[in-house]
Symmetry: C2
Subunit: 405 residues, 2 copies
């Protein structure tokens, strides 16, 4: 293809893709000037289709944990591709990866691999229901568990029946969780929990340990399964399931995104108690047993075990949070920084303290125009490829943008 401007690409896309773009990477709802198409990625950076460079605070919406085009991980992918990838059966690397993943994740006794995060959460739903024939699943209001009819955040094309047995509760609210469990009664199949509240558009919340413990107790009391959806946060908060540090072992955990640093693979990991139900469900996909993403995931797990990526991203996150707080205070700007520092959601409020999406959009647009890919209402991600200099660049850009307000 000859080089095109982004506007030309958008016009062409509009002709052959519904709405010009769909899904979570559409830029229609983010700040003006955010580029839709990219032609190059390397380490912490992206280049848009007009050649502008960005420090990417979205990390591909999560997959990129060790830098774009990480040489070790991509080499593992390509080496496996040169032997066998998608075939009529799996390669031994599938067994190796299941062994490595269950060794890495404390509660995990078995693993099933798939492609989308939604595949893993949907299998969790099916396993929970198959476990003892109960139907009700509790989900926190506003939590994102994928885009299948039972969980997509937009109702178009879905039916009331698709969520007939889903009961909502309020994240971190023990009374509402107990009420939902009581409503399910004997029919409680499982409780879905995000590792922390990382809904879009509202402040993030770390999990109250008492809420996590209560979720575990309610599942134990009912013989239901506790499901931690670690798709987005997996290996970003811990080298284990995100709730292990709270002392809570789920029965099922869902993994994807960073599991192979951007190569397509997701997984459902389970405890012994859920193995029989997992054996009963039928879920599969044309590319679920492909070997190359599994080899890439093994290489990613090695970096997870052997590098200080976690401490590094936490340290950068602290520097970013502290720096942005200082800049905002100086400017008299009411900033809201929530969630784990390495997965920050950064939003802005007006003088009364009320959320002001207008300022957020302006700041986000300013950051993008200064070469920082910034998201106005979705948590961002720091990666092992970022440096203190990168964070200093973010702070410089923020200083400039806020000054110009």
């Amino acid at each position: 293809m000859t080089a095109s401007t982004i506007a030309e690409l958008e016009a062409r896309a509009k002709a052959v893709i519904p709405g010009g773009m769909y899904g979570h990477q559409s830029v229609k709802m983010v700040a003006p000037g955010t580029p839709q198409f990219f032609t190059r990625a390397d380490g912490a950076y992206l280049w848009d289709a007009e050649g502008r460079q960005y420090l990417d605070l979205m990390c591909g919406y999560g997959p990129q944990l060790f830098g774009y085009r990480n040489r070790e991980i991509d080499a593992a992918y390509c080496e496996q591709l040169s032997k066998i990838d998608t075939a009529t059966g799996p390669a031994p690397v599938m067994v190796e990866l299941a062994e490595a993943l269950t060794a890495q994740i404390s509660h995990g006794d078995w693993a099933m691999f798939c492609k989308n995060g939604t595949d893993a959460t949907t299998m969790a739903l099916m396993v929970a229901r198959a476990h003892r024939g109960a139907k009700k699943l509790l989900v926190a209001t506003g939590a994102y568990h994928g885009s299948a009819p039972w969980c997509t955040p937009m109702p178009a094309g879905t039916l009331a029946e698709d969520r007939a047995h889903m009961i909502q509760y309020t994240y971190n609210d023990i009374a509402s969780l107990e009420a939902a469990a009581e409503a399910a009664g004997e029919d409680l199949a499982g409780i879905f929990a995000s590792p922390f509240k990382h809904d879009v558009l509202v402040d993030q919340e770390l999990p109250d340990p008492a809420y996590a413990r209560r979720a575990r107790e309610l599942c134990d009391a009912a013989g239901a399964l506790l499901i931690v959806d670690d798709i987005r946060a997996g290996f970003r908060l811990a080298r284990d399931c995100s709730w292990t540090g709270l002392g809570i072992a789920p029965d099922l955990s869902c993994w994807g995104k960073a599991l192979a640093n951007g190569h397509p693979i997701s997984a459902l990991v389970g405890s012994e108690i859920a193995r029989n139900a997992a054996t009963q469900i039928y879920a599969t996909g044309s590319f679920w047993f492909s070997a190359a993403p599994m080899a890439a995931s093994l290489a990613t797990l090695k970096l997870i075990r052997e590098t200080n990526y976690l401490e590094h991203t936490e340290r950068l996150g602290e520097i970013l949070r502290t720096g942005l707080a200082e800049i905002s205070t100086e400017a008299g700007l009411n900033i809201s920084q929530t969630g784990p520092v390495q997965m920050p959601l950064i939003m802005f409020n007006d003088e009364t303290g009320a959320r002001d999406m207008g300022i957020g959009m302006q700041i986000s647009a300013g950051m993008v125009s200064r070469g920082i890919y910034f998201h106005p209402w979705h948590n961002m991600f720091l990666s092992a490829a970022m440096t203190e200099e990168d964070i200093a660049d973010v702070l410089d850009a923020a200083r400039g943008v806020i000054k110009a307000l």
Copy 2:
């Protein structure tokens, strides 16, 4: 990993994967001796984890159309991977691929990319329901449209509500199709049709053109959408949608499997009439916008346009069918060969003409032991990488197996 026997791998797998293996590539239900794990693939061949070579008549259950590790297609993948793959937005190749695919598929005015075949069929379901708010979908009894709760062939973990508005009809049976449409009445959202009847375990059937026409008419009369699920057969029967040759244009067609010769991508392709509904649904995935599989798909489409792969696989299929018929007649064996020659389902009957799975399993086991990966109850696939010599090898093996019966 040190080299392991398949039995050792199976024992290790059993510890960390439910049932030792799950999904369509589990060998639990096929012939004894069929290997579970493979370590190498090239062209038409696979090598199992103990080094035995097989001519692979399953082609990865469909993805392999131009040979394993096709050099042109894999080079396109790797070249794109070296620039940008999974990122915070798509690359221009997404627009190029949507343009190429809608140019290739007569009815197609737009395309949406995803990962699993099930993603494409589920999006088709959602688009059909979003189109005018109707709920009922007609599906042929026994047809496979994926493994989500609304379509998985096994009920474990699913609820009656998951298919509350699915109405079954009998493939190729106009009266049953009309009855199903009448039962749906005003609430008819769409009709799912496989391009031919390719259910497992029963003889395949080519579509009766009158049935295909009636499906189109019933959709038109109700304002419903006609969906051709071309995941498995796409580009194996035609260089266009499989029903184009019948003079029938669906509103939606589902693609996957061979779309990038084994690289992970699937697609929903639609006509203008369905564009607005497609714009309304929300479906997305972590890896749906990855550029490398799109580049591989563009390279695959080039081979589809520029080579005689289709005529070649049809010719090989004719030679195989004729040869097997002769061998069976000579041996007095009642063989059933159904479906398009390049996607043959080969089963066996007893002297009374009744299906005899026992003989089928024996023959399949014999073929496998002679280095032909043969499936006893699922359609097989021929690929452009196969030669007349390969088919002669299949016939030689069949002669030996049948003689030994």
